[in-house]
Amino acid sequence: MAEITYLEALREALVEEMDRDENVFCMGEDIGAYGGAFKVTDGLLSRFGESRVIDTPISEIGIVGAAAGAGHMGMRPVVEMQFIDFIANAYDILTNYVATARYRAFLPCPMVVRGPSGGYVRGGPFHSQNPEAGFIHTPGLKVVYPATAEDAKGLMKSAIRDDDCVLFFEHKYLYRRIKGEMPQGDHTVPIGRARLAREGRDVSIITYAATVWKALEAAEQLEAQDGLSVEVLDLRTLAPLDDEAIFATVRKTNRVLVLHEDTRTGGIAGEITSRINESCFEWLDAPVLRVTAHDIPLPYAPSLEDFVLPQTSDIVRAVRRLAAY
């Protein structure tokens, strides 16, 4: 089997799910005739037609709200934010309406909101964001953020089949850089389960999305230069968190770095650290450390963006400090 990119894997998932279930449809800005700003939905219009691949006005509130309504009626909409930064416009309808619908009104919202996310692309403050934290904080929403092509496909298929709203963050830096071989058949990846990206004995790095690759890069470097054996846990799903996998790696290495590209204050690293503290305190040989972006709007110039975002050298430094503790 040939390898395909992270982006092609997403497209494959959409096509397979639309083939499988006629209730699945796509909506978004420029997703049809143009195939999406990054071409994730390229070819879908000619294959499924205008009624299932809908080019919309520039109306994020409208698109997300309509997805909720269609979901109530038994459809399974997949809506694209042209850049995930614009999900902020739909924050009200997602957090007030969608997230509470099942609990307060017994109405299902089996919908996916997906879009290109993340930085390291010189995209400036409005084309680089990682807005997961606000949504993780909202009960009723599920959040996934894959790092590999296999997970991109498998999680997309699971997200579409899930009976609740799944926010699907796609890292745009990975779209064409990361490739993988797709497992045969109906390949799904369960929501809520982390993945061990690298086994190790000395220090654990818990992370997700693009920084999984940075963690792996740092791990190689630390093995070569320091003889350290670093384990990397790729969370894949951010809500609900896979506590079991997190605690298992803590018990194994006893030294933990939580790493994310999102800003620090209120980021999910704080939550993970607290859970470890509550459940595995006796297992720790060092304080849990965090490497995150600085609490700064993401600037555009390469020198500034590099400064604000976490880099491989930061991870190396942090792991060395943990190992020496």
């Binding site: 420029d30 143009y34 600085h294 555009y300 500034l304």
Partner: protein, 407 residues
């Protein structure tokens, strides 16, 4: 036009610059068709505002349009040399709409431009040097490398920088003009939105608030046929964007956006009304986006021949040169001299901008808040002055080579 092409009519089926209030058009939908505009420009009556412009001012309009176009052409050259960081956005074919409208403002007035309003910013005093530094993400650019392309402002010179999320500047400009009103200042605001941005909630809330408060705000909807790849037929079910004025209870007007004097006229009338307490106006200017959404966009979705037709028959600079020759008696030498001056200005600015340094990494820490004025580097950066070690993969993290996405 896109889709079926069945509905074909001129922009609004009325003379450019016509006011509308309470009328809902005549049942046909405004579609863009470059071939519709017959002459260099519709003859302006002597009571039009532009009739009062001096010859020098009218020549000035050409200078700004020429500068806009040539500066963007220089940016394209720099983009191809990979000196532009991120995407590049053109306003080719829309220069008249930007320049003519901004020219109707006084120095004390404030406008908020969009991505195709480079010309408006230049008229308001932004310099080619600033634009070039900004696109190249230089440390001495107006935003010191923090923001992209023409996303910057200067309230002293009278322009407030946009952000990417579309529509947001409408309520912001409502607040700017609310202040003018509260302080009884003789000042007016102008805000631009694209045909696509009219579909946002922010646009609706902003213009409605401003209308109810009778704020001195002019809202210009630039109908250039497309929002990224989306044709206007998929953006609104209204026959024309100017019809939205009726719903907001404000005067609406439509103008030929490729006729710089017509744009000036229609904007000046709205500005004068705002200044005399008449509140908000909505203007739809009919123009055409001849380049893709950004440089990477190959415009595969545009019907064959459409771009060429606009370029050949309805180029705002071509049309204005006819006016200059026929009405202002401008000679080819005079026009060539302006073109040469523009090139000289841009050459000098480019040389200077290329010399500018990138931002100092530590500058990232300054100015998130007034107090404290400076953030501290996170613990893992203590003692370092740069983020990326030499031992990081050169071909990997931190190098954006993709030209695929829009920014």
């Amino acid at each position: 036009m896109p889709a079926s092409g069945k509905r074909k009519a001129g922009p609004g089926n009325r003379e450019p610059g016509t006011e509308t209030r309470g009328a809902s058009g005549n049942g046909k939908r405004a579609e863009l068709d470059g071939s519709r505009f017959p002459g260099p420009r519709s003859q302006s009556a002597s009571d039009r505002a532009s009739a009062k412009l001096t010859r020098d001012q009218k020549i000035d309009l050409y200078y700004w349009m020429r500068l806009t176009r040539s500066l963007e052409e220089r940016l394209v050259a720099l983009y191809r040399q990979t000196k532009v960081v991120g995407g590049l956005f053109r306003s080719l074919g829309q220069e008249a709409d930007a320049v003519g409208s901004a020219y109707a403002l006084e120095r004390r007035d404030i406008l908020s431009p969009l991505i195709r309003n480079l010309g408006s910013m230049l008229v308001k005093g932004a310099t080619p040097l600033e634009i070039l530094r900004q696109y190249m993400a230089k440390g001495d650019s107006p935003t010191r490398g923090r923001e992209l392309n023409i996303h910057f402002g200067d309230t002293d010179r009278g322009f407030i920088g946009q952000i990417s999320p579309l529509g947001d500047m409408v309520p912001v400009m409502a607040g700017v003009t609310m202040t003018f009103k509260m302080r009884r200042q003789d000042r007016v605001g102008l805000v631009y939105v694209g045909d696509g941005a009219t579909s946002t909630g922010a646009f609706h809330e902003g213009i409605n608030l401003a209308a109810v408060q009778r704020l001195p705000l002019v809202v210009i909807v630039e109908n250039n046929g497309y929002a990224y790849s989306t044709p206007i037929s998929k953006q609104t079910a209204a026959r024309q964007f100017v019809d939205k004025a009726i719903g907001y209870g404000v005067p609406g007007a439509q103008a030929d956006g490729n006729d710089v004097l017509a744009v000036y006229d229609v904007t000046k009338a709205a500005v004068d009304r705002a200044r005399s307490g008449g509140g908000v106006s909505l203007i739809e200017v009919m123009t055409y986006r001849r380049k893709g959404h950004a440089e990477h966009d190959n415009q595969s979705y545009v019907p064959a021949g459409e771009i060429d037709r606009w370029a050949a028959e309805n180029d705002p600079l071509d049309r204005y040169r006819v006016v200059m020759r026929e009405e202002l008696g401008a000679t080819d030498e005079e026009i060539a001299a302006i073109d040469a001056r523009v090139v000289r200005d841009i050459d000098a600015a480019t040389d200077e901008a290329e010399k500018s340094p990138p931002p100092d990494p530590l500058d990232a820490l300054i100015g998130v808040y007034a107090d404290p004025p400076r953030e501290r580097p996170l613990w893992f950066r203590e003692g370092t002055d740069r983020a990326v070690d030499v031992n990081e993969r050169p071909e990997g993290w931190g190098t954006w080579s993709g030209r695929t996405g829009s920014v």
